[in-house]
């Protein structure tokens, strides 16, 4: 009977040991989930240096990440891939482009908003004060953000991804919006900052200025989030596996000594070894 019990124990033990062995040589990695997100809020404002600043804020990602709690073996990471800018020539006019992950109880704005400089500066300050992760947009897609950093926020406050783009001071509309500049020829020579000021005002031109900004920034408002997992066993897991294997091997030795005839295959293997030793 012990023989059959050993076989019963050996099947799961073998699978676990093989998995741990492979994971030790090369940690098993995979993708658990991938989602594309649009932004819930786009805030456009002007900073102290008269530069246009655009903050693109995602909807909360709590529901997306809360099921992934790392265990002893599974470790989870988040990677964020922002959408490419629609024209590579824009890069020359971007002074600063960074991605932040923020944790806030709720956010004050929704949809497309153009803020006056005083309000905008406070808003950007507020965003910076609640950030839990920050990186440069060009490098963030290569970074693995451990999900453990979100664990204390995930059940209490909203976790959002924010992309903040600061344009160079003397960026003209035609530099970053070539197609729109052709369509709205009246605005093509204007500085981007002036369009933002125009959008803030109550003039008849304000709606057109707003729509130019909205349509252009919505085109970059997309990113992809992916949750990766790594199966990498720690020392405790290896220790538990060794204990399990010792129990099985102990049982096997005990039963083999009592009834070697029942272990035909094992006996044959042992005989081969003994013959080799003799020769």
């Amino acid at each position: 009977m012990i023989k059959y019990i050993i076989i019963g124990l050996f099947i799961p033990a073998m699978i676990v040991t093989l998995t741990i062995g492979i994971a030790l040589i090369r940690p098993l990695e995979g993708v658990s989930r991938t989602t594309s997100y649009g932004y819930e809020t786009i805030v456009v404002t002007v900073n102290n240096n008269n530069e246009t600043v655009v903050a693109l804020i995602s909807r909360p990602i709590n529901g997306y990440i809360k099921d992934y709690i790392s265990s002893e073996v599974y470790k989870y990471y988040l990677t964020i891939t922002p959408s490419y800018l629609y024209s590579t020539s824009i890069k020359a006019y971007i002074k600063d482009d960074k991605v932040l992950i923020i944790a806030v109880p709720s956010q004050p704005y929704y949809g497309f908003v153009v803020l006056k400089p005083s309000l905008g500066i406070n808003f950007l300050k507020a965003i910076n004060s609640v950030k839990i992760y920050e990186s440069d947009t060009s490098s963030i897609s290569n970074e693995r953000i451990p999900l453990s950093i979100f664990s204390k926020y995930v059940d209490n406050v909203e976790i959002r991804i924010v992309r903040i783009i600061t344009f160079e001071k003397y960026t003209q509309v035609r530099n970053i919006l070539p197609y729109y500049a052709a369509q709205f020829s009246k605005y093509q020579g204007m500085y981007l900052t002036d369009i933002v000021y125009l959008a803030m005002g109550n003039t008849p031109a304000a709606p057109t200025a707003q729509s130019i900004l909205q349509v252009s920034f919505e085109r970059i408002a997309m990113f992809q989030t992916t949750i990766h997992y790594i199966l990498g066993p720690g020392p405790q897991v290896i220790l538990r596996d060794i204990i399990l294997l010792s129990i099985i091997v102990g049982l096997l030795i005990y039963d083999y000594r009592r009834r070697p005839d029942e272990y035909y295959g094992l006996r044959k293997i042992l005989r081969i070894f003994k013959k080799e030793e003799k020769s």
């Binding site: 009977m1 019963g8 099947i11 799961p12 676990v16 658990s32 989930r33 265990s71 949750i227 538990r240």
Partner: protein
Amino acid sequence: MSSTKNWRSSLRRVNLYATHLLGTKATPVYVMTSIISFILAISITYGAYFIFYTFFAVILFALVLVIISTAARVIDDLNEGIASMILTAGLSRFEYILSWLISTVFYPVIIIALAALIPALVISPGALISYRVGPIGFVPPPLGMLIMTFSEQLYVNTMFALSFGIVYRRKSIAWVIAVMLTIIIPIISPMIGVAIALGMGPSSISYRYTNLVIYFMNFLFNPFYAYLSAYAFDPKDIVLPLLTIGISGVFGLIFTWALIYHAKHSMEA
């Protein structure tokens, strides 16, 4: 001292005959147990036990059928007098029936439970009590409860079917009861649940109560299905799962006793 010796020699005889059965008549149970252990161990090691969770009905049905088809051969042995022949070799009636139960019921139940427990204990013990383990965003019930109720259901279903089969000395009765428990009741109970929910009116609350109907139709003999419906009704509730585990556990023990008692008596005659 002599009673200890008796127990030891009795155990030795049970061990010998159960081993003999596993190598001969009960081989299908041994093979099936090994296959299912393999599937279970892989799915739990890779944190993807939703595979097991999705196909549990098929796995359970296949296991019960193989166990019943093998264990019910004891009824043939009783009817054809083979059992009496074996008893002349020095085995007592109790030892004879216990050997059959060990090789065809206890062995698969224990080994399958271990095949699920071992990877969980080695890889991530948290899976046994946690709701959030595994590489896929899926929130299943705690693995420990799944293993416990699954093994219990396997045990209770086979014991219930076998005990009736032995009392009436007919394999077909064992088959009918096994099919009733593993297929008919689990299929009918959601139908009745939905019918009652429809009768209650088109509100979302009434649909939630279909789980309660499924629970009460299964909680005596099918603790696994009962636990799943109790979990669907309220994942944090512990009264309903404990009730089904306790009551069906008592039923399992009663049927084990009834089976051994009747088998012994039928061999007397």
